[in-house]
Amino acid sequence: MNSILKIKNVNKNFGKISVLNDINIDIESGDFLVLVGPSGCGKSTLLNCIAGLEIIDSGDVFIDNKDMSDVAPKDRDIAMVFQSYALYPTMTVEKNITFGMKVRGVPDDVQKEKLKEVAKQLQIENLLKRKPGQLSGGQRQRVAMGRALVRNPRLFLFDEPLSNLDAKLRVEMRTEIKRLHYDLGASMVYVTHDQIEAMTLATKIVVMKDGFIQQIGTPAEIYNYPENIFVADFMGSPPMNLINATTIKEKNHYKINIKMEDGSIVSIKEKNKSKLPEDLLLGIRPENITETSLKNKQNCHIIRSKVDIIEPAGSDTFVVTKIGNTEVTARFNSETQVSVGSEIDFVVDLGKISYFDKLSGQRI
């Protein structure tokens, strides 16, 4: 597989504010890269830099192994779908889709053929004569995609394309984008602040914060092995539980102590780590804290605690309790019989625990 997009040591400042810090990303042809992070993290700026709509201050952007750092957007062989769709308001759908070809002097019959093909693919054949103002949000979204598809570019760029749609339509379009990626085998870069979108679409995720890359990896890597507490907290819903704990070194293992609210101490043995700091955070996903009735696993630890809140979510029921001085969410089966205020046993899967240094926030 060859590299379709390579970003090397890219920096970007707006005045004195640094928005991108030493960004390095490499993706292969056919990859679906998702840039995710809270607003203001620089993900949209990075996408604009890839598109050439923003000029980078230093570093290089390679598309298909060609240095594109000083190339105009139109010559980068990319197509972009925008959050506001950016359809040309005075043109019909047909003209919107063919505008790029018209500007580039593509012959009329080729334009017509491609338009027909794309309209069929996106099922917008009956909308071609309408103006964007006469379309619903979902239809506009399709037209915006059509405008990108018709170009048949080497790289698709999506800038939060679904955030203006209502929840139901968003899920539908998400599936559709995924199908499109699968059918076309195209390379895509996708910006979102929605971690579920990132998880479902990506073959590779870049988590960003304050202009720095926090972690690059497959969705599974990001979810199961977050590099630091920011990623652990940002990815996953509900987020990973981070529990305060202290360590004591014993002969050939560490003893990890969690001080409960009533003063009692919960102790866990850790044999696999050779070096742990004194203060650390235990990262446990909600699904790795379960009910006693599922006590068929080995390497578990039982913590007895009071149920504070129960949040039924249909497929699961989230149970909130306090372990140490932190609120912890556990994912229970939806048919659970627990009641608020009762003391129950929570089963923690020790094999799935992540350790973070409390001071640096980094994974250990």
Binding site: A51, L53, K74, I78, Q83, S84, A86, Y88, P89, V103
Partner: protein
């Protein structure tokens, strides 16, 4: 209970009556000068001397209109308003067209192509709107002289274009700033150039603001007197200057009917423009945003 309702009904009716009464009084107050102008322009001099100011004409005559148009004296020359009317047309139309076009381009650049210092340049242009006419008279006269345009129609066009750019830029900038910048980005990726984006995407969106700008500029330029009187010479004076000359240079009996007719003729084009495009004017002024 029923009495109560009747009472409020009567009070409402009374208030409504009062409201319309006041409105009608104001309407009459505003229409009176126009009424006097029109009736006076249709009277003969004899009738003006003997009759009352507000009475209707006994014999309607268009003689004064004819005189005002083609034979009233503006100083030594007695050709009426006609040549000056055309002067004003030849000044106003190109000046409106050019200043609107430049304003549209400027507004497009300032609102959508945020280059370094765009805001400062826009602020300076805004400042240009507030420079009093009097301040630029002497420097402008000097520049027109250097450009060899002194006293010419081209020179007046130039002055009006320069003075209008501030306003036209302001209008277009405020209109374009509401259009999402993503349109420019999308068009850039589609391969369109700076001018192509303006021509194919922004200009077709601009009808309401073009109408506003054209009305504004046409009214300003047509009604301008100071520039007209300062930068023109015998053959190039605009209609406002000629009107002043007609009214002021009469010897002997003052021909009020001719003065009134001349004033109405001079005001007619701006009225016509407003009547035909006024609907768009209001719409354009209130158009907040353009929804895709």
């Amino acid at each position: 209970m029923i009495n109560n309702i009747n009472n409020t009904n009567y009070t409402n009716l009374l208030l409504r009556f009062l409201l319309y009464f006041i409105l009608i009084v104001f309407v009459l107050y505003y229409l009176l000068p126009l009424f006097v102008m029109i009736t006076t322009s249709l009277k003969s001099l004899e009738e003006i001397r003997t009759g009352s100011l507000v009475s209707l004409p006994r014999n309607i005559t268009f003689e004064a209109w004819g005189t005002a148009w083609s034979s009233a004296c503006t100083g030594i020359q007695c050709e009426g308003l006609r040549p000056f009317f055309w002067n004003s047309i030849f000044i106003a139309i190109p000046a409106v067209f050019i200043s609107t076009l430049i304003g549209a381009l400027n507004g497009y650049v300032v609102a959508q192509w945020r280059f370094r210092g765009a805001n400062i340049i826009f602020a300076l242009m805004l400042f240009g709107c507030f420079i009093p006419f009097q301040v630029i008279l002497l420097p402008m006269a000097r520049i027109l002289g250097l450009m060899d345009l002194a006293g010419s129609i081209t020179g007046l066009i130039f002055v009006h274009v320069i003075y209008g750019i501030g306003f036209t830029t302001l209008f277009f900038r405020n209109y374009y700033v509401n259009i999402p910048n993503e349109l420019v980005k999308a068009a850039k990726i589609d391969g369109a150039t700076f001018l192509r984006i303006f021509w194919s995407i922004f200009l077709p969106l601009s009808l309401p603001i073009i109408v506003v700008t054209v009305i504004w500029q046409f009214t300003q330029i047509w009604n301008d007197f100071l520039f007209g009187v300062s930068f023109s010479q015998a053959g190039t004076q605009p209609i406002t200057v000629a009107l002043n000359n007609i009214v002021n240079s009469t010897t002997g009996v003052k021909e009020y009917n001719v003065d009134m007719a001349a004033a109405i003729i001079a005001a007619m084009p701006t009225l016509i423009v407003y009547v035909f495009a006024g609907k768009y004017f209001i719409r354009g002024l209130t158009a907040g945003s353009v929804k895709g």
